[in-house]
Every structure is written in structure tokens, then in C-alpha cells.
Amino acid sequence: MRKTNNVIKIKDFKVDKSLPFDQEYNFAYLDENTKKMIRRAIIKALCIPGYQVPFASREMPMPYGWGTGGVQVTASCLTKRDTLKIIDQGADDTTNAVSIRNFFKKTSNIKTTEITEKATLIQTRHRIPETPLKKKQIFVYQVPIPEPLAFLEPKVSETIKMHSLSEYGAMHVKLYEDISKNGHIETAYAYPVKTNDRYIMDPSPIPKFDNPKMNNSPAIQLFGAGREQRIYAIPPYTKVKSLDFEDYPFDPFKAEHACDICGSKNTYLDEIIVDDAGNKSFICSDTDFCNKRKNK
């Protein structure tokens, strides 16, 4: 008969009772080997601005489309000294922001903030804060579809080739179609950009109003797409140009209103229907910026 002394019995596993329940996880949820793998992908992405680096995306305790890519990038970058800010559509108090903030509070016990300037790491869905980003900040985007050429060319093998050979002519076909249909470039979010004069990149579904903020930013910008298993990045002080036509230049559109709460005229606004008569109100989508202005 075979010896069975190398069989591990379940009772051999001991839960460390000295730790509170929430800290039975490794710091920031992911194990260190996974973080190492993701950090290597991030470093590669920073070396080739705009290039999509494949990585072995993990299952996260949230559904795809809720920021699994961004969360993995954030988890791999977090240190115990970091102060974390999470925004969803510019707001700190929306579902996605609150749940991800609580997730990191539980699993890493770090400081969190709602104030843009105080954060060392900001994870975002669909906005760049109105307060300019600064040196030594890391800015993480949640990305649903990283491939800007996907709508033109469904084959991934072909889009990889198009990127490697800079065959980007077809990219303008979409903008052409916009102008011929609507008289102007209708694309309002996920507006494609060219990074460092080389790779065409999907900036995630931020409004095109935010596109100019990516250009020459002093912060590190990282993009994580969990379901599609891609990470890409813009290193600090990198040229990011929105695609356009010579006679139809890029126009960072916003609603022609001032914020009804703080009165700001040059921030991105949410349109809110306030009653059954269809009356509407415009307010800043960046809650932190709006609160600060209001309280001044």
C-alpha cells in the first residue's frame, strides 16, 4: 500500500486568528506574484507609450465591466504610504467608487481621500478630475475596450499588425463618417488619440472634453482592461494628440451652461432632469471640485 503521509489534510491549514477577518487577504487583495506580473506589464507599457501589453488578468471579486482591470493595476501599485481616491463619472459618492474604495479599505487598510490634490493614487471611471494632476501622482483608468481599431477590424491578429506597422488610415474613416452624417465629429467619449506620435490609443470612455488633460501631464497614467487582459500607459510629460481633420479640428465639447451649484463655466457638466416637466439642471460631474468651489 502507498504511504499517504504526503497528503495534506484540511485541518493542517490554520487561520491566523490574531488578524481581523478582513486582513486574512494579502495586502491589497492580490498575491505578491500576481502583483509582480502586473508591475512588469506596467513597466513595459510605460516604456512603449500607448502600446497594449497583454497580462494574465485575474478573477476579481466583482463582475467584468466594473473595473476589474483598473482594480488590478491599483492593487499592484499601492503601497502602505499611499492615499487613495476613487471616482466614478467624476463623483466620489457613486456606487462603483464607493464599492471599490471600501474594497481597498478592507484589503489594504490605507488612507483614502476625496480631495484630488491629497491623493497619491487615483482610480477613475470615465473622467479626469478638473484639478490638474501633478507630479508623483498615479492615475489609473478603468478600460472596457482597449482596442481603438476593434470597430474597424474584428480580428485581433490583424489589429496587432496594424499597430505594429502604424497602418492607421482607416481610423479616420470613422471621423469622416461622423462629419458626413452630422456635420461635425460626433464622437463624444472614448475619442481616439495618438500617443507620443506613434500608437493610436483608446483613452477609455472619458468625455472628449478631458482629452487635452492627458497631453503632457506630469502624472503617470495607467490603463487597465481586465476582461480584455491589456494594460497600457502614458508616462509623464508625453504628447497625446486627439485625431482630427485639418479642416475639422478637434473640439473638446461641453454643455453651454454654468454649474448650478458652484457656478463654474469651464468644467464638464452632468445634465440632470429634475421634474416631470422635463426641466433640467446642470452640475459639475467632478464632485470634489464642485464642493471646494462652493465652500470657498
Binding site: 474597424l152 499588425k161 505594429s164 506597422l165 497602418e167 492607421y168 488610415g169 482607416a170 479616420h172 474613416v173 469622416y176 463618417e177 462629419i179 458626413s180 452624417k181 481633420f245 485639418e246 479642416d247 475639422y248
Partner: protein
């Protein structure tokens, strides 16, 4: 001496044990229209796909000589090859749906090649697209319509406009009138013929229809079982075919 625009030497391509084409040698001079005829499975399409870069041949040489610049088509890097295909070659498919983006408007389809060679001025792209729609006899009011709303003949003319707009040096046509009814065929052929004359195009046209070859081609080659069995001026070959198979082809044309 005129240097051939395209020189092919001993080109062979097989699919496992099945011969696609074998030891094909030929040359094509600027402004010439070359017809390739043969029955189904004779290797016409394999040959044209090898020449246009859609297929990698097993053996042989393809040399393009454009503006005194020699390009060894099978020995250049992938990026050079794709650039060459984009700027110097054009391919008109038998089925226009293969050569067009059906979810993009007619103007967008015609303009795509311009944008891929660096045009970034909407107004210019649009006016060139309009000009070409005019040239291929499509009403310019249809410029923003989707190709799915076009008839078969219009689609084929749209595909021709899309391909010719960047004035490519060699144009490949694979049965360009294949799926069209006879009256539409005549119209498309007439269009191709007038464009060839007007723009002095260099064309390789594949067809199993001898009438198409007689109408368009200056020279022709006849293929059977993957090899060239007869070649020469098309009038000569069609009037006085030497090979038994060619004689059969010529005599099998219906005279209505």
C-alpha cells in the same frame, strides 16, 4: 528598351499536393492590359493572388519596376510590402462586398484609401470622392448612402472608384463582371475600358469570359492545370489559337 513594370519568373504555388500554379513566367509593360483566361481551377486566381500579395508563393520571383525603382516583391519586409500594396497596387474583387466596408458610406469607402496614404483634409477627401463617383457614373447625391442600398452594378463601380482613386500602378481585377447580369456587365466593362484608355492604366484582369478579354485585354495568357499553355496578343490568340484547349475555349463561345 522599355523595362517591364512587372516581371514574373518561375512562379509556383501549391496547396499541399494540389498544384495551384506551376512555373509561371511573364512580363507586363506600362499601360498594358493583360488578360488571364482558363477554366475554373486552372490557377488564375492563385496566380493573381500571388502577384497582388494576398498569397505567398512557394517558389519564383516577382519584380516590380515602378518609376525606375525595382521592388523584389517576395524579399521585402512585411511593412514595406504592405506599404507597396497600399500605394502601388489595387485589387478589384469579383464580389464587391469583399472589397468594400458595407457599414461605411460610399464616400467613406472611396475616401479610405486616401486617408490611409495620409490625406487629412475632409473637404479635399470629399471633393475627390465626389469626382470619382462622377467618373464611375454613380449619382453624387448617393455619397452618404450605405453600400447595402446599392445595386450589384453600382457596388462594383463603387469598388472600382475606391481602388482607382489613389492612381495605383498595377490594378488586379478578379472576374470584375462575374456576378452581374448581362446588361450591367456591359456597362461595367464599358466603364473599365474608358477608364483604362483615359488614365492609361496597367491592368491584369482574370476572367473565364473570352468576350471580356477580347474587349479589354491587349495581351492574354491561357492557363490550364496551373500552367500557361498559350500566350500572346489577344487578337492573335483569339483569332488563331494554336493549342487544342484554346481552340476549344474559343469555339465554345456562344454566338447569339
Amino acid at each position: 528598351m522599355i523595362i517591364p513594370l512587372l516581371k514574373v519568373t518561375n512562379l509556383s504555388k501549391s496547396y499541399d499536393n494540389i498544384v495551384g500554379c506551376k512555373n509561371i513566367s511573364m512580363s507586363l509593360y506600362p499601360g498594358e492590359v493583360l488578360g488571364i483566361v482558363g477554366e475554373s481551377g486552372s490557377g488564375k486566381t492563385t496566380l493573381i493572388n500571388c502577384l497582388s500579395g494576398n498569397l505567398e508563393p512557394d517558389r519564383g520571383k516577382i519584380i516590380f519596376n515602378i518609376n525606375n525603382k525595382e521592388t523584389d516583391f517576395l524579399n521585402i519586409s512585411e511593412s514595406e510590402k504592405r506599404k507597396f500594396i497600399r500605394t502601388d497596387l489595387a485589387f478589384v474583387h469579383q464580389n464587391p462586398r469583399d472589397g468594400l466596408r458595407l457599414n461605411v458610406s460610399a464616400g467613406g469607402n472611396i475616401g479610405e484609401k486616401l486617408m490611409s496614404v495620409g490625406y487629412r483634409h475632409y473637404g479635399n477627401i470629399r471633393s475627390l470622392a465626389t469626382k470619382w463617383m462622377n467618373k464611375v457614373e454613380i449619382d453624387k447625391s448617393r455619397i452618404d448612402d450605405l453600400p447595402i442600398t446599392f445595386s450589384g452594378g453600382m457596388l462594383q463601380r463603387l469598388q472600382i472608384a475606391k481602388n482607382l482613386i489613389t492612381s495605383p500602378n498595377v490594378i488586379f481585377m478578379d472576374e470584375p463582371t462575374g456576378g452581374l447580369d448581362v446588361s450591367v456587365q456591359a456597362r461595367v466593362l464599358d466603364l473599365i475600358r474608358s477608364l483604362v484608355n483615359e488614365l492609361n492604366l496597367t491592368v491584369i484582369i482574370v476572367s473565364h469570359d473570352l468576350a471580356v478579354i477580347r474587349l479589354l485585354a491587349d495581351k492574354m495568357i491561357v492557363m490550364k492545370n496551373g500552367t500557361v499553355i498559350e500566350s500572346g496578343l489577344s487578337d492573335q490568340v483569339l483569332e488563331d489559337p494554336q493549342q487544342e484547349y484554346t481552340q476549344l475555349l474559343v469555339s465554345s463561345v456562344l454566338h447569339v
